[in-house]
Structures are given as structure tokens and as C-alpha cells.
Amino acid sequence: MSSLLIILLGSVLVSYFALTTPGIVQPFASDDVFDGAVGVAIATAIGLMLLSPLAWLVDRLALRPLHIEFLAPTIFVVLAVLLALCLEAVFRRQTHWLPLRMGFVLLLTTQGALLGVMLQGRVRSDTLQEAVLAGAGAGIGFAALLLAFASMQQRLRAAEVPAVFQLAPAALVTIGIMALALMGLTGLVRE
């Protein structure tokens, strides 16, 4: 239970997901942008859930015995790329989820949350079960918050935000208040 929340808190606040996701920064109206956000959320959630235990296994079975822990980041990136390929094959028909021309590959490799959960999992999770839990928690937390923020931006399109706060400032304030709300969960994890 504890690792689940620390990853959720860490990966969500650390990863700059909101600003890199296309079209999320400024309030949008059309459902296409929301579908795009759904695509990113689902792809990253699945990525987190699968890669966390996978990275833990690779670390315990290969990296440590061979003493090549320094290769961890590169190998983990390759893992992310391979997973992106599988996702692309599986979700080929769901183009409305991911209108980006570059497809899943570029998106997942550049997603900070994935690398974060893999590197943290390597160090923090002691058992495979904990790594699976951390991945699941991060995945669900990430997808929920991204969708919440995307639909919040869709709703804020009609808000008369003063000119000086249009676009990025309002988005940052919204993320700030959401982060403030998440601060309430600190202390749930007694390390």
C-alpha cells in the first residue's frame, strides 16, 4: 500500500505530463484533443504497469549479476521502446486515441514517468510483488490525473480567464492546486 502511493505522488508530480501532452496546455473544445489525452493516459498507464515489474526482473536477473548497473537507464529506454512497439501493434485501430504522427514509440520513450518508475523500482522495491504494485499504482494515478486535467482544461475553455493568465499560467495554477490537493496524501507512507 505504501509504495503504491509514493510512486503515485512522485511520478505524477515529477513527470511534466501536463505540459508535454499535445494541446493540453491551452483550454480546448474538441473531443479529439481529449481522445488524444486518453490515448496518452492509457498508453502510459499500461507502460507503467508492465515496465515496472519487467525492469525489476531485468535488474535482479541481469544487471546485478553482471555488475552492469550503469547500463540501467539505456536498457530501460530500450524496454520502453519495445513495449511501445507492442502497444502500437495492439492499438493500431485506435487512431482516435493517438492522432500523433509519431505514434507510440516516440511518446513512450520520452515519457518521464516511465523512466522514473523503472529507476525507482530498481532501487526501492524489494520484492517483485512490490514492483508490480508500484507500477499499477503509478499507472492508475497517472491516467486518472491526466484525464482529470484534460477534462478540466476542456471545461475551462468557456471560463473568462483574464488575458494575462490565459494559456500556460492558468494551466500551471490548475496543476498547482491539484498538486496542493495531493499534498494531503503525504504521511500515508511511513518510510
Binding site: 484525464l147 477534462s151 492546486i177 490537493a181 499534498m183 494531503g184 503525504t186
Partner: protein, 345 residues
């Protein structure tokens, strides 16, 4: 003969935003009176400061946005933000706490998004959460309830004002002499020290329901809330869902381990449960829209509140729970659109 024209309909019920907000403030009155009875005049000073700062910052924001001052200042929404924020703070908290919280709430949480009706987050809770996170120390200096059988040193009116405005106690008082933890905090501390529920409750500050003094305040809030329900100013969905979502896990955990987890009545009458259910979560602007959405929204707040109270770092999680569910409201609204006449789904 010629006549003025206007679009249909030509008759509306005599209702206004001012009346709605005024009734909400009126419903809060008994609780404020009870609060003053138990905890002294500190709250009145905080209320005065909170409301004044809320109105001033509202006026500044309206001036900057070049909007008419009179209708928006007198609609009472800023006053409610100030009042709710003041009620969450300890009575003797320093003046700059409620001032900064109220200004932050009105300027950033409300007018940044476009003023009345556009703020996705509850302004009072944004202000309170900012204070909770930035000044945790000052927010724990609560006073004990003024009960007949408890001979505790009682700061008079002069002392209260002195403390609030000077930021420190007058010479003849010390903080540990006059402060005492709230029922929630004391329950948490004693449980974490390994005491069982029964030993924790032996402390004289606990009465039959929850914390003595506090339970009366919460009952008054409940009365005010029911009165608003009867007047149809608020709907039953959010308070019912929230209180149920606090009571049920509390009852379950209490049944599972009566020694370690306080019961349903304690949780319902402690901290800001009632204030949150009837006055904070039901803020229509930042709450969910459809009835089903309101039930999910209320249940979410209740659950998160219970989780934070039981396993979290903060004594009372209502503020954070409300903000978290405010963030989820657009997503909830998106998937809980009620069925329209003539449509199957």
C-alpha cells in the same frame, strides 16, 4: 399604443444569488454562536478579518477586471469564502494567517478563473489548504472547549485580540497552558502511542458523541444543513454521500478492530465532517452537476477524508479531499450526463 418587448419567459420566481448566499450564511449562524460559546471570541475576530479581506480582494479583482463592483460585492459569495475559511482556523491564530488565506482564495482560486461561477476549486478550501501546507505549526494551536467541569485558564476578550494582532501571547499566558489538541489530533496521538480506543476516550475531553464542545458545534452545523435542505438551497445527494462514505468505513474498521479505530459517531461529529458535508462540499460552483455525479463526488470526498484521517499525515483531510474531488468534477460530469427525454441512452 406601443409596448416594451423582452424574450419569453416573462415571469421568474423571486430569487437571487444574494438570497441563496444569505440563507447559507444564516444557516451557519448557530454554529458560529456555539463556537464562540465554547472557544471564546477569537472566532469573531477571525471572521471579521476573513470577510473584510475577502471583500477587499474581491473589489480589487473586480476593479482590475473592469466589472461593476456593487452587484458582485453584495452577492455574498466572497463573504461565505471568508466565513468558511475563518471557521476552519484556530480561534487565536495570528491575523496574517486568515488574511493571506482569504486573499489567496478570492484572488487566485476565484478571480483567476473568471470570477463567480467559473472556479473549478472551492476557494475557501484552496485558501485553507495553502495555510495547512505552509504554516502547519500555527494551525495546531487549538483551544480546549470551555466546559463547566474543566478549570482551564481562559483567555479573555482582551487577551484574544492581543494574541491575534500581536502574533504572540500576553506575558501572563503560555501556549501549552491554554492550548489543547482537537479531539481528532488527540485521538490520533494516543492511538499512535499504542493506547487502545477505550484508554484514549478516557481523556475528559471526550464526551458521549465525539469531542465535547465540538460535538455541539457539529450538531448545530447539522441543524443548519438540514434547514438548507428543507429550503432546497442544497440537494441531499452530496451531504448524504459524503457522510455515508465517512460513516461506513469507520463502522467497518471499528468492527474489524474496535481497539484501534474510532467508531462512526466519533468521525461524524469530529473535525469538519458536518461543516464539509453541508457547507463546503455543497458549494454548487465547484461541485458535480448531475445527481449521479453529486453522489460520486460526495462519496469520493468522504472516502478520501476517512483515509487521510486514519492513515494520513494531517489530522483532518476534508480540505484536501474536497480539492481532489473538485479536480475530478469535470471528468465526473463528462461521464454522468443524465438521459434526455426521447433518447435511449
Amino acid at each position: 399604443m406601443t409596448f416594451a418587448t423582452s424574450p419569453a419567459p416573462h415571469v421568474i420566481a423571486p430569487n437571487s444569488v444574494r438570497r441563496v448566499m444569505g440563507l447559507v450564511l444564516f444557516a451557519l449562524a448557530p454554529a458560529i454562536v456555539m463556537h464562540v460559546v465554547f472557544f471564546g471570541v477569537g472566532l469573531l475576530v477571525q471572521l471579521f478579518l476573513g470577510v473584510i479581506v475577502a471583500l477587499v480582494s474581491e473589489a480589487i479583482a473586480l476593479k482590475l477586471r473592469r466589472k461593476a463592483l456593487q452587484p458582485f460585492l453584495t452577492d455574498g459569495s466572497a463573504i461565505i469564502t471568508g466565513v468558511l475559511l475563518a471557521m476552519c482556523l484556530p480561534p487565536l491564530a495570528p491575523w496574517w494567517l486568515v488574511v493571506s488565506g482569504s486573499a489567496f482564495a478570492v484572488l487566485l482560486a476565484k478571480h483567476l478563473y473568471g470570477g463567480l461561477g467559473a472556479n473549478p476549486f472551492n476557494p475557501a478550501m484552496v485558501g485553507y489548504a495553502v495555510l495547512l501546507v505552509s504554516f502547519p505549526a500555527q494551525l495546531t494551536q487549538w483551544l480546549p472547549p470551555q466546559l463547566a467541569d474543566l478549570q482551564l485558564l481562559r483567555p479573555g476578550v482582551g487577551d484574544a485580540c492581543y494574541t491575534i494582532f500581536m502574533g504572540h501571547l500576553p506575558a501572563h499566558l503560555t501556549w501549552d497552558a491554554i492550548t489543547s489538541p482537537t479531539p481528532l489530533t488527540s485521538m490520533r496521538n494516543s492511538l499512535s502511542m499504542g493506547l487502545t480506543m477505550q484508554e484514549a476516550q478516557a481523556n475528559p475531553m471526550f464526551g458521549s458523541l465525539g469531542g465535547r464542545g465540538w460535538d455541539w458545534i457539529n450538531l448545530c452545523i447539522l441543524g443548519g444543513g438540514v434547514w438548507l435542505l428543507v429550503l432546497r438551497i442544497i440537494r441531499w445527494h452530496i451531504p448524504f454521500a459524503m457522510l455515508a462514505a465517512i460513516a461506513i468505513p469507520a463502522a467497518v474498521m471499528n468492527a474489524v478492530d474496535p481497539g484501534a479505530y474510532p467508531g462512526m459517531t466519533f468521525h461524524l461529529t469530529a473535525g469538519a465532517s458536518m461543516l464539509g458535508a453541508f457547507f463546503i462540499a455543497t458549494d454548487p460552483i465547484s461541485a458535480a452537476t448531475s445527481n449521479r455525479g453529486k453522489l460520486m463526488y460526495g462519496a469520493g470526498i468522504g472516502l478520501i477524508t476517512y483515509v487521510i484521517r486514519t492513515w494520513g499525515g494531517y489530522p483532518d483531510g476534508v480540505a484536501f479531499a474536497v480539492l481532489m474531488m473538485n479536480a475530478a468534477v469535470p471528468l465526473i460530469d463528462r461521464y454522468t450526463v443524465p438521459r434526455v427525454y426521447g433518447h435511449t441512452r
